[in-house]
Amino acid sequence: MSTTENRAAILRLYDAINSADQERIDREMAETVHPDVVLHTSLPTDAPGAEGMKERLAALRRAFPDFHLAVSDAIGEADKLVTRNTITGTHHGEEFGFAPTGRSFVIEEIMLYRFEHGRVVEINGVVDIFSQLQQLELLAV
């Protein structure tokens, strides 16, 4: 896989996530993400690997039905791809144990994907959950 193919695969996955079409998400996840992917993304997941990632994505969609991810930058080298994303959503379902607030957020995340044999085997990333909780007025700091 070239960096071009890695980039295209991640962009297809993001498109599927944005579509909220579960079949499409399952298809792109199966094609792009290894079942035993190692996640270091500061997000809580109930299960390890791709299953945990899918559950987290489903939970996000339930909490923020208009959840959208826009890629601002993509940097690829060898077996790695970094994307900087802007994420938006409106809080209409329970998230992190908080009842819906109806408030919206705009935050950034930067994700680093490592590929092996054409699939993502490791994801390191930082999502600005701090800012998200501040914007939803769920953090008393």
Binding site: S42, I110, F130
Partner: protein, 144 residues
């Protein structure tokens, strides 16, 4: 050129930034560098904003930064960084605690003629607040 930019960024992250070597800044960044809007202490832009940032941080935290991974393409270099530190002054509304902490940060630097012209970064501030005991982590950890 990419190798040079990569090394420049690593030196900046590991040596210049944590040691507040403000006199070295003109060797690493352009005068009109664009910084993240939330750059402490007040989001000021340009090399002067970065100078203020590096002079402010040692008054509230001591820290070291280690680059774990770098990814470079074209005029951009991304870095995955681990920052380990200790809170020594009032920081983001939290009274000085002496508390030690470690967080991850992802940073992207854009280069022009061998110097940084723009920086984007996302640091795990929620984790930092939790480690400093300032954010109620129960709700966020509830799902894990």
């Amino acid at each position: 050129m990419e190798t040079t930019d990569r090394e420049t960024l690593r030196r900046f992250i590991e040596q210049v930034d944590p040691n507040a070597k403000v006199d070295a800044l003109p060797d690493y960044v352009h005068d009109d560098i664009v910084l993240p809007a939330d750059t402490l202490p007040n989001g000021r832009q340009g090399i002067e904003g970065l100078r203020e940032h590096l002079e402010y941080l040692p008054t509230v935290i001591e820290y070291t930064s280690t680059v774990r991974q770098m990814v470079a393409e074209g005029d951009k270099v991304a870095a995955h960084i681990v920052i380990r530190g200790k809170q020594i002054g009032d920081f983001m509304g939290i009274p000085a605690s002496g508390q030690e902490w470690a967080i991850e940060e992802m940073l992207i630097a854009q280069f022009r003629d061998g110097k940084i012209s723009q920086v984007w970064r996302v640091a795990d501030l929620l984790s930092l607040m939790q480690q400093l005991g300032a954010a109620s982590s129960e709700a966020v950890g509830a799902e894990s």
